[in-house]
Symmetry: C2
């Protein structure tokens, strides 16, 4: 099945590039509210499910045993910029578990923004695992391993108790049992299991509402959701989609990006979970797709509408800052989403 | 028309993302040798045609009047990394025309590689127009304006004599007359005119062979082709596709990348010109598409085969450098190209 074109990138009066993709919106009962494209195909969720991967950390009591703050729990769900505040917070998380950056197995990564890279360069430093956008997640994994009393070394391996536990929780949340055949290695070296988008959407509907979850898991999901809403800067950072949306919507939505054009969201007031993927892996398109879903699905106040407008139609700029085009959802995509609204 | 999927991005045993696109291979007589997808659709060529945009600089005698070296002429055709050697060479080109970096209208850009950005940061400098990947092209435009005796200010505007002259040459080379409707503004602020891929391929067949060109233009094309072949590092730089291919093929091919997934090439020994575009604008896919065209179309010696193998199937790596997947051409794409070989 060929997924529909959902996002255009224009220049002048023409469409210069286009992005295809698929979307699943599922309600808390697990019913499909809106499906676009081949939402049944298996997709690697990558970093878009970090909040679900943090459930064992909280549910096990490890987060409490380690006295993790909202900011640190939010960082455990983050794909952050590697700013000073992110790297330092990851270091503190590791300290609380009696560990150091040397225990991280995610690999190094330069901070996303030049100004943060410049700080390292001027201090004659090179980036380490703390600057990896996944360092908070890894610090959480290590903390969980410590509290579980298992060997921390090799915590990224599929056979390690931490990864086995996360796989169990993911299967329970998505309702999809995964085999080794659909296991890939993520950029930060942990396993990533491909499931259909509607399974991930179902998981995020449950994550945002607690519906259908055991009390202990309900509490864990609520704790993680609240931590991200309270500390959205830790989930991403300066000038980032996830931070801007969670700041601007003040608890109405949880959103999380993943590599290769994946995006997930919870919209508790509607009981919806959302999962989407841009076929070609482009983040610019996945962001416009997610912003469009939120714009169509939610009643917006003035500031929310203004925020989303900039994210639904981001400009294409020249290096002098002039507008040369725009990235925008296709009319057909808007129609598909609008057709799924309750009034219809 | 939906263009076919040409490139897969795998992770583990699955395809994680895919890229669609179109390709035109045309011979020196203007005949289509191989067409993939909607090669008749208009595409912004962006930086892939810089070598053709340099023709007026040479044909007018300006390059000779300014005493431009091969390295400088190669830089005029470049999308370079903004390394010291590139920025310094652009500065010298401007000096030869009695101008400075203040005359550049391309806007600033950070060097592509962190080690080059670090040099600026450690010197307490910020990037300027010289570091813009298009600075050599702009220095060429400014030199041409000077020798033409026209106002240099506003040389990026479509109505400026330099841009009008380039438009004329492009129309002659492509055989496609363009209107204002298909004019967009490029990232470096100059006009970019959309034409069909087969028109660009025709232009690059003529560029590489000289066939069908007036003697003066034939000489200009040859001079530009040779300059890029002699100084491939100036066309791009360290660890870049265009530099590696032109170094490795020692005159057998000219290749040039453009933003939003465009790629053009000349293969003089076959008399072919090539133009391709990845629908979604991804450079990673456009590179694999071009490498695949070269691999199928050319008889390769051992070192050429080894070079191309790495470019046809680049690995997807974790941040620790482990192989998590591969970017590779689809079998259908290989079949389409092989079907166009003379033996068939």
């Amino acid at each position: 099945m060929t997924n529909p074109a959902l996002v255009d990138v224009t220049r002048g009066q023409l469409t210069e590039s286009l992005h295809r993709g698929s979307v699943a919106v599922v309600d808390a009962g697990g019913k499909l509210v809106c499906g676009v494209g081949d939402f049944d195909a298996r997709v690697f969720p990558r970093s878009a499910i970090k909040a679900l991967q943090a459930i064992p950390l909280v549910e096990s009591g490890a987060a409490e045993a380690l006295d993790l703050s909202d900011a640190e729990l939010s960082l455990a769900c983050a794909s952050h910029n590697g700013e000073e505040v992110h790297a330092n917070s990851a270091r503190v998380m590791l300290m609380k578990a009696g560990l150091t950056e040397d225990d991280l197995e995610c690999g190094p990564q330069w901070p996303k923004r030049m100004e943060d890279a410049a700080k390292l360069i001027l201090a004659d430093e090179t980036p380490c695992g703390l600057h990896n956008n996944c360092s908070g997640k890894h610090a959480g994994f290590l903390g969980l391993a410590k509290v579980m009393g298992v060997e921390t070394k090799g915590y990224v391996e599929p056979s390690h108790p931490v990864q086995r536990e996360i796989r169990n929780v993911m299967e329970q949340m998505t309702g999809d049992i995964v085999s080794e055949d659909v296991c890939g290695t993520d950029g930060c070296s942990i396993p990533t299991y491909a499931s259909p988008l509607n399974s991930f959407a179902r998981a995020f509907a449950a994550f945002g509402t607690g519906e259908g979850l055991e009390p202990l898991r309900q509490d864990a999901a609520q704790r993680i959701f609240d931590a991200c809403i309270n500390e959205p800067y830790m989930v991403a950072g300066a000038d980032r989609f996830c931070t801007k949306v969670m700041e601007g919507f003040r608890g109405r939505v949880f959103v999380k990006t993943g590599a290769e054009g994946v995006f997930c969201a919870s919209i508790p007031e509607l009981g919806y979970g959302v999962a989407l993927k841009c076929d070609d892996g482009a983040t610019r398109a996945a962001e416009v797709m997610m912003a469009t879903v939120l714009e169509v699905m939610l009643e917006l106040d003035e500031s929310e509408a203004k925020l989303l407008d900039g994210l639904v139609n981001p400009p294409v700029l020249t290096r002098r800052g002039a507008e040369a085009g725009v990235i925008r959802p296709r009319q057909e995509f808007l129609q598909m989403l609008k057709g799924a609204l309750p009034a219809n």
